[in-house]
């Protein structure tokens, strides 16, 4: 600042400038920023402009909630004879897979514009039977495994795609953590239902 002398404002214009700056900031904050970012809306302007919706999507965090598995007929009534069992199978709607009785079922929430990992620990040659689906929303996924104790960052991808569902069976090529990286590039959160079966240990959200 040795070469230029910025004009020194009078006290009056300083006070005006500072109060004006504070007023503008206060208004923009309470009317727009706080409602949109945190859902704090003292004026009600944020709600009128629909800004508070943004805060709701902001506050959604990644989550994985285990689901109670539907009990099978056989499990609920162990004394049931073959006849009733046959009836039960016949009564099933054709679109529900009747064969695999899942071991675990989990509901995973992927927030808007975020990615997350959900993993299982498998021994070498252990199997993981899986089937996951969203409510139709597509998302990028990378089904992969990382060898136990590896520090180089190596990972082996089994399946990489952008889809709303996927199912299959994995036989682990090595001991380590195996699972999915899902990335939701849409502006709305996506819920995934993941059903699994096999000899594994659930590691969960990473």
């Amino acid at each position: 600042m040795n070469d230029t002398q910025p004009p020194v404002q009078s006290l009056r214009s300083l006070v005006i400038a500072s109060s004006l700056a504070t007023l503008i900031a206060g208004f923009v904050l309470t009317a727009f920023v706080l409602p949109a970012e945190y859902g704090i809306d003292p004026t009600g302007i944020g709600r009128k402009l629909g800004l508070t919706v943004l805060a709701e999507t902001n506050s959604i965090r990644a989550a994985a909630v285990p689901l109670a598995l539907p009990q099978t007929e056989a499990a609920t009534c162990p004394e049931s004879n073959e006849a009733t069992n046959k009836n039960a199978i016949a009564a099933k709607t054709p679109d529900t897979p009747s064969i695999p009785q899942w071991q675990d079922s989990v509901k995973i929430l992927v927030p808007a514009n975020q990615g997350l990992e959900y993993k299982f620990h498998l021994q070498k040659d252990a199997t993981l039977e899986y089937s996951w689906t969203t409510d139709g929303a597509k998302l990028y996924f990378d089904f992969h495994g990382e060898p136990k104790g590896d520090t180089t960052g190596y990972f082996k991808s089994y399946k990489v795609s952008t889809h709303h569902k996927s199912s299959g069976t994995l036989t682990a090529p090595f001991e380590g953590s195996h699972g999915w990286y899902w990335e939701n590039n849409s502006p709305a959160p996506i819920t995934i239902i993941l059903n699994t079966k096999g000899s594994y240990r659930v590691l969960g959200l990473m």
């Binding site: 600042m1 070469d3 230029t4 910025p6 004009p7 020194v8 404002q9 009078s10 006290l11 214009s13 300083l14 400038a17 500072s18 004006l20 700056a21 504070t22 503008i24 900031a25 206060g26 923009v28 904050l29 920023v33 706080l34 970012e37 945190y38 704090i40 514009n113 975020q114 990615g115 520090t151 180089t152 960052g153 990335e183």
Partner: protein, 231 residues
């Protein structure tokens, strides 16, 4: 004149490219986050790019820089102040990450908001009028640079950066920050340079610095609320 025109032609598309990017104050976008999480070992190019991008799209840094060079007319001075800012920035970034020092990002960003308010007030001659003295502008830029760097260090620590080649990656990141700052300064200077030829620059300088203070206060309130609610 012709070189200037040529320069503009080249730089304008670049400007639009950067404006097109979604800017987050101190945020690291999802792709970057993925890269940082998956990255192992030395990756000079990407880290340099992330550093540059962070600077060019970080509106809090840019506002502060606008305040700093608002009354600097000599290229030499602009470079000097920018270097001082970078020096502060680099010091805390390196020490913060290497020493695993983490500061609450909301608080740091709130302080960065205040740094913009400070500079706007300073440009209005506020300290001279109120205190009868001018705080050393070089020291101020340097000190605020330290805060800006801490903000970044804290952000980078959210990712478990690999220990192998960490300092090389950080160095690359830092060089990128410097490059990004140079690029951003170029654009700011072009804009100010055009404006300085008109008399309105001086008649509007009070308004501009008032707005600068206001923006800083908005950032301050935004980050402080975040600290109180989520911090």
């Amino acid at each position: 004149m012709t070189t200037r025109k040529l320069f503009l032609l080249i730089s304008l598309p670049l400007l639009f490219f950067f404006l097109d990017q979604t800017a987050f104050a101190h945020g690291v976008d999802k792709n970057t986050e993925r890269f940082l999480l998956a990255n192992q070992g030395i990756a000079v190019g990407p880290f340099m790019y992330i550093g540059a991008k962070h600077m060019v799209t970080g509106y809090d840094h840019l506002l502060f820089l606008v305040g700093v060079i608002f009354f600097l007319f000599r290229t030499r001075d602009v470079l000097l102040y920018a270097s001082l800012f970078t020096l502060g920035h680099s010091l805390t970034l390196m020490f913060g990450v290497l020493g695993n020092i983490s500061v609450n990002p909301y608080l740091i960003d709130a302080i960065i908001g205040l740094s913009i308010v400070y500079k706007g007030f300073d440009n209005l001659g506020g300290f001279q009028r109120l205190l009868g003295l001018q705080p050393n502008t070089k020291i101020a830029v340097m000190v605020f640079g330290l805060f800006h760097g801490f903000g970044l260090a804290t952000k980078l620590q959210d990712f478990s950066l690999p220990k192998t080649g960490l300092w090389k990656n950080l160095l690359a990141f830092n060089v990128g920050v410097e490059l990004g700052q140079f690029l951003a300064l170029t654009f700011i200077l072009i804009a100010l340079d055009f404006w300085r030829r008109h008399r309105s620059y001086y008649s509007f300088s009070t308004a501009t610095n008032t707005l600068l203070m206001s923006s800083g206060l908005i950032l301050f309130g935004y980050q402080l609320t975040g600290y109180l609610i989520l911090g």
